[in-house]
């Protein structure tokens, strides 16, 4: 039972973290850093850095949600086990 609760807690935390990343204002910075705002090597460099940062944050956001789903499924599996097997696992 403890393991199931740990899996559920972990899944909830990961979803919360995923939401925090997803709602971070870091994801929308690139929209303000384009050529409507500034032009030149520095501008281009910053814009590309922000795009790369956004791509990576988004990837991790989805990965966290995916991991949370897997942990929940594992907790579901454990809950379905007969009591004897629950103690073994």
């Amino acid at each position: 039972m403890v393991q199931i609760q740990q899996l559920r807690n972990s899944a909830r935390l990961l979803r919360s973290l995923s939401r925090s990343i997803g709602t971070s204002r870091a994801l929308s910075l690139h929209a303000l850093a384009g050529p409507d705002t500034w032009i030149g090597p520095t501008a281009q460099s910053c814009y590309e850095q922000l795009l790369a940062m956004r791509r990576q944050l988004t990837t991790n956001q989805l990965s966290l949600a995916d991991t949370a789903g897997r942990l929940d499924r594992r907790a579901d599996e454990l809950e379905q086990l007969p009591p004897v097997l629950k103690m073994v696992s």
């Binding site: 030149g40 590309e48 940062m53 990576q56 579901d76 379905q80 696992s89």
Partner: protein, 308 residues
């Protein structure tokens, strides 16, 4: 000297947004083991904002060295020059670009797609491959160990799984026999990483002590550049369905599970590395370290194969 142009009002909006985003990232915390990679990414993003973007925007907004439009003729290319003409028509302010005063733009400015494209076209030159023993007993081979000075900056990652593998992964949730594969290609940018080249002799070795190494012939260099790594892992499992018919098909008791994983990669340095003698035993336990050999089957658990 190249010039840059900016709309002050919009740049101030960007500066405020950068500050707010930096604050958002600072508030994101987790010590859950499953969130380690995500937290590394968040910290890396935070550094990008705090150490690169915010200072640059601040410098531009506070710069008093205004530049006349006539200097736009020194722009780096026609596209930039045309953009600067437009900027002048909009009455944007212009200053000398701080990046152009530091020589060519930073290599780290390449995007994920740029790196892949330049790898394929040969525009990026890989570091020399480690020496291969070609399977000959007592022959020498070398390994390259990369120790990042800081958390590597991840430029991007793509999923290389075939559609069939994705389909098998999907149905593995509901079938008693499942196979999950992960095959990704990730591009990192390493800054000031230490690379150690060690010379080994191809012999049977003690797993705890590692391969036979000639410590006197080790060399090391400090490098910055792109690390391109393919990670490949698979998990095969057999699950005994439990519960009444019609219940959750993902519920079951795992009877068998076998995992395998490996990686391969190549490093593309910004500048050719200068190796110097070193006499230091390498560590085999650092998860942020990549060690490569040219052997098709890496010599040691945890080592990867050089090449993609």
């Amino acid at each position: 000297m190249t010039v840059m142009a900016f709309d002050r009002a919009r740049l101030e909006i960007l500066r405020n947004a950068l500050d707010a985003a930096s604050e958002d990232l600072r508030l994101i915390r987790s010590d859950d083991v499953h969130a380690a990679e995500a937290m590394r990414c968040v910290r890396s993003a935070s550094r990008t904002l705090d150490d690169i973007c915010i200072p640059r925007v601040h410098d531009i907004l506070t710069s008093t060295a205004m530049t006349w439009y006539k200097r736009a003729g020194a722009a780096c290319d026609n596209v930039t020059e045309a953009a600067l003409v437009t900027a002048r028509e909009r009455r944007w302010e212009m200053v000398d670009d701080p990046l152009s005063g530091l020589g060519p733009p930073s290599r780290a400015c390449r995007t994920f797609d740029d790196v892949l494209h330049q790898m394929r076209s040969g525009a990026l030159t890989p570091m020399s491959a480690p020496i291969d023993a070609n399977g000959r007993a007592l022959a020498h081979y070398t390994s390259l160990t990369f120790e990042p000075a800081d958390t590597p900056f991840v430029l991007g990652q793509i999923d290389l799984r075939s559609n069939i593998d994705k389909l098998v992964d999907f149905f593995s949730d509901a079938l008693p026999i499942g196979m999950r594969k992960h095959h990704t290609l990730t591009v990192y940018y390493l800054t000031g990483a230490r690379v150690v080249s060690n010379v080994h002799t191809l012999t049977a070795y003690d797993r705890d002590e590692g391969p036979e190494t000639d410590w006197d012939r080790g060399t090391a260099a400090t490098v910055s550049g792109y690390m391109v790594v393919e990670d490949d892992s698979s998990v095969a499992e057999i699950v005994l369905p439990i519960g009444p018919e019609g219940s959750d098909p993902t519920a079951g008791r795992r009877l068998f599970s076998q995992e395998s994983s490996g990686y391969s990669g190549v490093f593309y340095p910004d500048e050719p590395p200068v190796f110097e003698p070193v006499n230091r035993e390498p560590s085999f336990g650092n998860p942020d370290v990549w060690t490569f050999t040219t052997s098709a089957a890496p010599m040691v658990d945890g080592w990867g194969t050089w090449g993609l």
